[in-house]
Point group: C2
Chain length 307, copies 2
């Protein structure tokens, strides 16, 4: 089943202990799409400037991603510059130039209207909500957000959360959103805001899936997927979006949203996140094969299973 994703298609300049890359293709919607494209059809809604050319277009086409919804406009694409020199788990942002993204008005191609799955990547919650309302018939809606929106745009974000089935955020964001430092309590509070499923990403320690449940059921409604201890993390940029792409892409390809499908989706998310870190930008996702994905899936099972 097709996923429509709305989010940023951008350029990043990244510095990590492994080196530096200038102006490489990035953005949440890019990582998400590339990752999800290994599992299902993906359609992108975004805006790019004149610096997005044939070379960037080819990256999407190579993975059969529908780019009809990528609007081309005068000016420069969204640009981010950041580094991970002191801490590979947390980017230090040097420059954020919204550029054409500052006036982004998502337009949904008619051909996208039969999408059954919608992913609202990390953008202004006002835009997330607008896209959500424009596609009222989708079967399952997942989304992401970040500290910036949690702290500064809370009312708009709360409106988005009401319309989400699944929210994917990291530990810090979950605790900040719930204003509670205990992860289990924070998860319950976040699910009370709307999403019935919450995926909390723990970086190098994997991710936890929480289901909405009664106060009594506690641990019984959680599932934890591991992350692979990596010999070298070259560039963590996009790991969370790649996780989301693997998770939601796998789910979209399943006939039913069963507990078992959700568990496997968590593993596939973790697998895709681990690949994303192995090279700069989207390099590893571009070179990836489905065979490698399934091989690593089995490695993850081996990593955590008793028998």
């Amino acid at each position: 089943m097709a996923i429509t994703v709305v989010g940023s298609v951008a350029f990043d300049s990244i510095e990590t202990p492994a080196g530096r890359r200038e102006h490489c293709l990035g953005g949440a919607a890019t990582y998400f799409s590339l990752s999800a494209s290994f599992f299902t059809d993906v359609r992108v809604i975004a805006v790019v400037g004149e610096d997005f050319g044939r070379r960037q277009q080819a990256v999407f086409e190579a993975r059969n991603i529908d780019t009809l919804g990528i609007e081309h406009t005068a000016g420069k694409s969204f640009f981010w510059e950041g580094s991970y020199l002191e801490n590979l788990n947390e980017a230090k942002t040097h420059i954020t130039d919204l550029n054409v993204f500052a006036t982004f008005e998502p337009k949904i191609p008619d051909a996208y209207r039969d999408s059954e799955f919608l992913f609202l990547a990390n953008i202004d919650p006002v835009l997330q909500r607008r896209v959500r309302l424009s596609l009222p018939d989708v079967k399952l809606v997942a989304g992401d957000t970040m500290n910036y929106w949690i702290n500064g745009h809370r009312p708009a974000l709360l409106e988005v959360l009401k319309g989400l089935d699944i929210l994917l955020i990291n530990d810090t964001e979950a605790k900040m959103l719930a204003e509670n430092n205990n992860l289990v309590q924070a998860a319950r509070a976040v699910m009370a805001m709307g999403p019935r499923l919450l995926v909390v990403k723990h970086g190098e320690f994997g991710a936890t899936l929480f289901h909405r449940s009664t106060p009594e059921s506690d641990g019984a409604h959680t599932f934890r997927a591991p992350a692979l201890p990596l010999e070298e993390v070259v560039d963590p940029t996009g790991a969370g979006d790649s996780f989301a792409g693997g998770f939601f892409g796998y789910l979209a390809a399943q006939p039913k949203l069963t507990a078992s499908a959700l568990r496997r989706a968590m593993f596939y998310g973790s697998v895709m996140g681990s690949f994303a870190c192995e090279r700069f930008g989207t390099e590893r996702l571009q070179a990836l094969t489905r065979e490698e994905i399934d091989e690593r899936f089995n490695q993850f099972r081996e990593l955590t299973h008793l028998d």
Copy 2:
């Protein structure tokens, strides 16, 4: 098979967001023994002062722990006061009074000499080494250490590591010992110092077991056990020692050190660590039953297994 453990039997005053307890029974050897006693026979080598009385003795006796090697001497027992008010993952130490521990000279009762398993809890590496050399015939030796010894007593610690089969430490300690910020690389460097197995504890994110291996085998020689996301962490004191007790206690009770036994031991370690956090000091371990342990073991399997 019996485990002999050498380490501290102490009193702790602890403050956490859940409250405060004065002068409760603690110490690494105490947590380790209580935890391991659910799996095998445990014998303790430690020193206590006049403040260690019948009530404390009864805690060990209730779990059939052999206290013949606990030396009673004039003065006060080792005392620690700390808090976890800002961060439940890291204790802030207010007071450390070595008291009778300052002149501790471990003495090994003859009745302990047939122990096949030895655990060197976190104490001065000079003492760890002395005990190790006094029990040359043990089959398997595991140990713990901490930042203080890694930074300030490195040569003595390196001597201890040469005689260890298994080292159990946390992320920060592993990276500090290896002087390498990548966990996989750090693990390899630590194992080159002696231990053929390394357990790195990740607090609320479980623990990873590394086996010594060739540079090529990377992920194939690791195993990750989860931790249970807890509704409330009352007091994390002793969680690491309780993990060690569950891990090593389970191993000591197995006929052979197989890969499968090691995986289960990691799960039991994680299970015991999670119980330790549920109440202040050793309260939860004192009240625990083997039935509850196996129930939680199954919960942990459910938490991470795909099928």
